[in-house]
Structures are given as structure tokens and as C-alpha cells.
Symmetry: C2
Subunit: 174 residues, 2 copies
């Protein structure tokens, strides 16, 4: 799918296709549709990034809170979005042994108690050991730094989701 | 459910319960959770309203574009959110005769071509005839006025969804 095909999409098709590039935040995709035409995928990504940056800090925390825990109850109950399920699966989150699962649950809990939003990481760029290590380390950060770090991860996730939608022919589903 | 019970909810339970008071925009609910404790339901509603008002115009259009058409393809294909299905059903949108359905489809199309976002109305406060009449009238508004009008309707929908969640014991589902 080339950028001219992206630019030709109605807002409905655009949101259907790209609505979850930021997890459970189709409002962002729907807002940046107004910025068409995009000169390329990078420009679409930049528009999303700018929209996020312009939100108040509460809005950024809102984005983080729309993300599921890693290896958490949504994975267990089958209620993850398709994208999150694939990403968590690829990072081995659906195949933790009981020691790893207990450690992950404990660290997720500590993280959320400390920061009041969930630990967000671009799982596609990490493996199980790396995720556990980073979760443990990031638990000791300051809240402001961790909010900013979470948003950086949201943007990495967004970039990879955009690329995979545009490069594979996901547009066939329209 | 009283306000102290609302204020005691974790962000996860809060978003599970109130995440769709603005259609498909759980980010808004997730953001205003930071504003706890709320002195009452009105204060929660006001926090949501302020968050919406502080968004750039593109963000407000983004909210509108997260709404389904009335009697549109989501209703036909069974992909409406629970809240929208109930509201559209109560307003008779699932029981249009063929003349009404054709008229609705034509006006929705005209509206979207003109404004680049869908017609949004608090269906619970209207009936079928009233909705068709308002859709027809609003098609001739200016874009800025219509964006503001759509957002007013979003807030009415939000108020009624909040009330029905808190007053009925929807919290039982947690």
C-alpha cells in the first residue's frame, strides 16, 4: 500500500485500518486524518507523535492507562487487541514458566502502585529476559521520567504497527 | 454506586467501567482518573468536559470520527458498542422502513461529505422523526458550528451514559 492509497482513504477506512496503532486510542488516528495528504509514512508517524506531545500530561497518562499489562489478565482472559496479542506472543509473554509469571505479576503490581499507570514497553524489540530486567529497573525511576519513557515506547510500538500495516497488505481487509 | 466507591476504583476498574462514556475514547476516562477524588458525578462529568474542551480542534474532530453512523454499517453488521446499540435501538434506528433507511443513508452521506466527520446526536433524547429532521437541518450548517454542535451532543451522551452506569448497579460487573 503506497502513501497515495493511504491519502485516498475515507476517515472511516483510515480509522478502521490504523485506529489501533496507538493502543485503544482511535481518537488519535481519527484526529490526524485531518492532516492529509501525508508525504510518506514518516509524516503520518510524525503527525501522530505531535498530537501525543501536545496532549496535557494527564492525556499522556491516559494513553499509558489504555495499555494492557504484559502477561496480565487481558492475555489470560483472551481480551487483548489483535496487535497486543501478537506482540506479547512474539516476546514470549504467553509462555512464561511459573517463576517468571509470578515475578512479572509482582513487578507489574509494584510498578502500577508507584506510577499509577502500567509498564509500557515495545515488546517486539525485546525478549522475555530483557522485559523482566527493564521492568525491574524502571520501577525505581521517577514518575515524570517514567511517563516520558512510557510515551517513547508508545511511539516505537506505533511505528512498528504502522509499518506492518502499510508494508504487508493489511489494506486488503478494507 | 456512590461517589466514594467511584473514587476508590483502580484506574483499571475505572476504565473498564467508564471507558466508553465517550464513544471509543477510553483515553479520556483514563486521563481524568488522575483528577480523583470527585465530589460527585457532576464533577466527574465536568472533568471529562474540560479535557475535551482543551483538545485541539483536530482532537475534537477525532472524537466525532470515533462515532458510528446512525442506522449505518456498524448497526447492520452488529459491530456497534453495547452503549450505541442500546441508544440507537431505543431511538428506533434498528426499525426503519425502507424509505426512512434510504433517507437516513443519503443524509449521512451528504453530512460526511460536507463536514468530514459523522452526524452525532444524543439519540436517547430523540425519536426517529426528530433525528431525521435534525440531520437534514444540520447538513446546512457551517463546519465550525457543526463541530461544536457535535461535541455538545457527545457531552449529552456522556452524561446519560455516566448516570446509567452509576445509578444502575453496572459496577456489579467488576
Amino acid at each position: 500500500m503506497d502513501i497515495s492509497a493511504v491519502n485516498a482513504l475515507s476517515y472511516e477506512d483510515f480509522v478502521n485500518l490504523f485506529g489501533n496503532v496507538v493502543e485503544k486510542c482511535p481518537i488519535i488516528t481519527a484526529a490526524v486524518w485531518s492532516r492529509r495528504p501525508f508525504v510518506g509514512l514518516k509524516a503520518l508517524e510524525a503527525a501522530i507523535s505531535e498530537f501525543i506531545d501536545d496532549l496535557p500530561e494527564s492525556g499522556k497518562e491516559g494513553i499509558l492507562r489504555c495499555h494492557p499489562d504484559l502477561a496480565g489478565r487481558d492475555l489470560q482472559s483472551g481480551t487483548l487487541t489483535r496487535e497486543s496479542r501478537e506482540e506479547q506472543g512474539r516476546a514470549g509473554m504467553d509462555a512464561l514458566n511459573s517463576v517468571e509469571a509470578a515475578r512479572m505479576a509482582q513487578l507489574n503490581k509494584e510498578y502500577k502502585e508507584r506510577f499509577e499507570f502500567p509498564f509500557v514497553i515495545c515488546a517486539r524489540m525485546s525478549d522475555k529476559a530483557d522485559i523482566l530486567r527493564q521492568l525491574s529497573e524502571r520501577c525505581s525511576n521517577q514518575r515524570d521520567a517514567e511517563r516520558a519513557r512510557g510515551i517513547e515506547e508508545v511511539k516505537k510500538i506505533c511505528r512498528l504497527r504502522l509499518q506492518s500495516l502499510v508494508l504487508t497488505d493489511a489494506s486488503n481487509k478494507l
